[in-house]
Symmetry: C2
Subunit: 209 residues, 2 copies
Amino acid sequence: MKLYSSLGPNPRLVRMFLVEKGIEVERIHLDIITGENRSDDYAKKNVMQTTPTLELDDGTLLTESTVICEYLEEIQPNPVLIGSTPEERAETRRWARRIDQEIAVPMTMGFRGGGGRPMFEPRMNVVSTEAAAELSAMSDKHWLWLDAQLGDKDHICNDKLTLADLVAFCFIKFGGTVGWSLPDGADNLTRFAAKMEERDSAAIWRGEE
Amino acid sequence: MKLYSSLGPNPRLVRMFLVEKGIEVERIHLDIITGENRSDDYAKKNVMQTTPTLELDDGTLLTESTVICEYLEEIQPNPVLIGSTPEERAETRRWARRIDQEIAVPMTMGFRGGGGRPMFEPRMNVVSTEAAAELSAMSDKHWLWLDAQLGDKDHICNDKLTLADLVAFCFIKFGGTVGWSLPDGADNLTRFAAKMEERDSAAIWRGEE
């Protein structure tokens, strides 16, 4: 298997997931700042030219971070990061999707139309600066909602490390790379992130790729 | 199993999925116009007070439409609507997530802050009218992108009916209930929707619940 990855929360989510699983893959780093992902060659692998893309040994191409994580869990169930029963998997997926839709999507759209505008505007549809500010503010409100849901627990669901924790952590860390930080009052998430930071898999956030 | 459902694309997605699977469940209809989903009782079942919620016989509560569909596929694999191999499942999930994130999320946020404002503004965070218009326009651009990806195929992926088709169809149908229609030029999706309309499962869109 070959992973095409880059800076950003989604490729790094898959990289953390791989480390947690103990799966080693060949990795090709694409410099998204200079637009290495915008090449025709990469478009053949991923029509949206997003990262990450996982290329299987038979040439099959998988995209979308959480979808790749589901695939990795299926081919190597242990350690369990999504769930070992249909109910446990549903719980992890529920939280991963909520974070994705309620937090990560508006946060990403807000960044692309706001601080990330010079890079993203020539490349894709971005919202206006004003709409971006609204989406960022909405995302912050939803971070506070998640903070309340987390409470004093160490993990978002299932009383153990899951994909949902990794999604939340990767978007917190991503924010940190672009001048954002958790909104005031998100003390539970601040504690959660500090604890996640101690994991071996978090080391990928300290690399340059 | 008991399904708490209502009007809207997400509960109806699960209902179509159930019909396609041939699974019958007890169904409790919540009138979201009058706010039956805003009750304290329902909040105990679903902290976000969204629909649908699937209550299992042991009291376990599942939420999020695509997550419930994944659960139903796991407990009853046939007919296959997500996939019968890890690769096939990854392909369906990839498309379902792209439609969810690139189309359904901005379309929903656009509706809530636009035409749906009188109902949604008192209930949740909605964006301004201006931002809503931008999000709706972005969603329309992405519908045209999906139209190009569909081309002359009958199904979005895997050469057969999948969850991805059902997600796309449910958001097209939902749009139809609130005065929206596919953007000009989306001829492939128009043909796709007409074909989907012939399925028995599409009949739920003709009911009042």
